[in-house]
């Protein structure tokens, strides 16, 4: 059972690599090296701040775009092209297929993030000519970004299990944007009254709280991240992704593959 999930995950990763998804790293490298050179010339004392902000934001955005655009096709493309028929006619359970696809995409994003992280550190070294202890905090920000990817992947898979790729992309991207302002939504819910209070509270807790994962600015200012936040975010991401994946499995388990 576990091996079948691993085989499906490894094939999903291979597909991403062969479909040249990792080519985005070239665009990322160009963007970051260009920015580092430019920043090195025009900014005084804040080069490091700019490079960390720009680098980590780019890591997050590139990853989210990949997560959404691959994630939305993971199930629907297999149904449309009928590649699924020869997989599900084997001793593969539908949930194994969904979970395998999720891990395959998550693996792709982790590898992608790893190479991007090298790029961020290289740019940082270029502008500051040395590493300091506080730079290790960047790893925490990268970890949070990966957790964010897990949630986005699971949401893209959830939408992909019942709607068209286009609608799935719209849903997933909208949730990402709304989730990035989840704290504001919670504040609004706190101020609202009556029905709108309940509706806003419900929405605020239903959408993924991506704002809790955004520690880029504080890390750029070398402010440490509390261990409690790391634990909280980890549990939240695992729980949210598991819920979204369960939803995807539940829908897919009952879907006719016409």
């Amino acid at each position: 059972m576990r091996t079948r999930v691993a085989h499906i995950a490894s094939n999903t990763f291979r597909e991403a690599v062969r479909d040249r998804v990792l080519y985005n790293l070239i665009a990322f490298a160009l963007l970051l090296s260009g920015a580092a050179i430019l920043v090195g010339q025009i900014s005084i004392e804040i080069e490091k701040l700019v490079v960390i902000n720009l680098g980590l934001t780019a890591v997050s955005l590139f990853g989210v775009v990949i997560a959404i655009f691959i994630g939305i096709g993971l199930v629907s493309k297999e149904i449309e092209k009928r590649t699924l028929y020869t997989v599900l006619s084997r001793p593969v359970r539908r949930w194994e297929f969904i979970v395998g696809k999720f891990f395959g995409l998550a693996g792709t994003l982790v590898v992608n993030t790893f190479f991007m992280a090298i790029g961020v550190f290289a740019a940082l070294f270029y502008v500051s000519h040395k590493f300091v202890r506080a730079d290790a905090l960047i790893l925490v920000a990268l970890y949070f970004i990966v957790l964010e990817f897990l949630i986005v992947c699971s949401l893209a898979l959830l939408f992909s299990s019942f709607s068209s790729p286009l609608l799935s992309a719209v849903f997933a991207f909208s949730l990402f944007v709304i989730g990035s302002f989840a704290e504001d939504l919670r504040n609004f819910a706190g101020m609202a009254h009556g029905l709108s209070h309940w509706l806003a509270t419900g929405a605020a807790y239903l959408v993924p709280n991506f704002s809790a994962f955004n520690v880029i600015t504080s890390i750029a200012h070398e402010q440490p991240v509390a261990g409690q936040l790391i634990l909280q975010n980890t549990l939240y991401a695992v729980f949210y992704a598991a819920m979204a994946l369960s939803g995807a499995v539940l829908i897919f388990e009952h879907r006719d593959l016409k």
């Binding site: 085989h7 009928r82 028929y85 001793p91 006719d256």
Partner: protein, 313 residues
């Protein structure tokens, strides 16, 4: 123990976006396929053949009914380790090579790692795809993909193989090879269930066939029973270019092609025709009973079904 027992499987889809309405794809189907036989599932396009196969594979869910495959409930996941399936017009992960694809399917089917590589080589040779190492499937022709499809269906040495239109996209040589492969599978004691609308293939290969039309089973039986002799007629063939007047007088249907004459006469006139040919010093080549072809049986069944449907409207 039968290889397949279909017990009233039925499928009704909901169609339409806004106001859903039911569309029956398969009427309750009762069918038994015996172990070790080649069974043909015949019907025109849209008859319900693929729906039946998808139901048996668990790709779509039945509205009612059930099935047993190799003595177990068809939903039992362990059954799938013992069946192979070739979908109609198969499409595979085109970024993989044939080796990688079969390796992957071998992993999913639980083929042990130490035998897998060897088995992949063996299957590729069996389906005529040796020497395609390193070529991604996106560069394969339709016929080559069909061969890959057949390969993946037999890779894990299943006891029961389902082929949906296996001859589709193949040239005459390819079709011949697939026929040979099916006979080989039968020889190995495996059961083959295949859907087709190419009746000559079914007639050549199948022990038994079922005919389905508009989602309803119209007939099932052994090929030789369905194509038994009709109205006691025989076909007489002799060398020559002329039909003697005395044979014409017997009311024979005669056709002259090149240096041969074919005449269809009643069985009780067979001796009279032979006497005439002997008298006229013609060289007799063959006398065979006229049988209904599977095609004629098939067309007659479909016509009858359409007439019944027309009269009930």
């Amino acid at each position: 123990m039968p290889a397949i027992e279909i017990l009233g499987l039925e499928k009704i889809y909901s169609v339409g976006f806004w106001r859903k309405r039911p569309k029956r794809a398969l009427h309750p189907l009762e069918l038994t396929v015996e172990d070790g036989e080649i069974f043909g599932f015949l019907g025109p396009n849209g008859a319900g053949k693929t729906t039946t196969l998808k139901l048996l594979m668990g790709l779509v869910f039945p509205t009612a009914g059930s099935a047993r495959i190799l003595g177990r409930e068809w939903t039992d996941p362990s059954v799938k380790a013992q069946i192979g399936f070739l979908p109609e017009q198969p499409y595979f992960y085109d970024y993989l090579t044939a080796h990688e694809l079969l390796e992957y399917y071998g992993q999913l089917s639980g083929v042990p790692g130490k035998h897998r590589k060897q088995r992949v080589e063996q299957v590729l040779q069996q389906v005529g795809l040796r020497g395609v190492q390193g070529v991604q499937l996106r560069k394969f022709s339709k016929g080559m993909l069909q061969r890959v499809g057949i390969g993946q269906a037999i890779l894990h040495q299943p006891k029961l193989v389902f082929f949906d239109e296996p001859m589709s996209g193949l040239d005459p040589m390819g079709r011949r090879e697939v026929r040979d492969l099916m006979e080989q599978l039968k020889h190995e004691g495996k059961t083959v269930f295949f859907s087709t609308h190419i009746l000559s293939d079914a007639e050549t290969l199948c022990d038994r066939v079922a005919i389905i039309h508009q989602g309803e089973l119209r007939g099932v039986g052994a090929v030789e029973d369905l194509t038994s002799s009709v109205q006691g007629k025989v076909e007489v063939i002799w060398q020559g270019t002329q039909v003697p007047a005395s044979i014409k007088a017997l009311g024979a249907e005669c056709h002259v092609t090149a240096d041969r004459v074919r005449a269809i006469v009643a069985e009780n006139q067979q001796d009279a025709v032979i006497d005439i040919l002997r008298r006229e010093r013609q060289r007799l080549i063959a006398i065979t009973p006229v049988r209904t072809s599977l095609e004629a049986y098939f067309v007659e069944k479909l016509r009858r079904a359409e007439t019944t449907a027309g009269s009930t409207v």
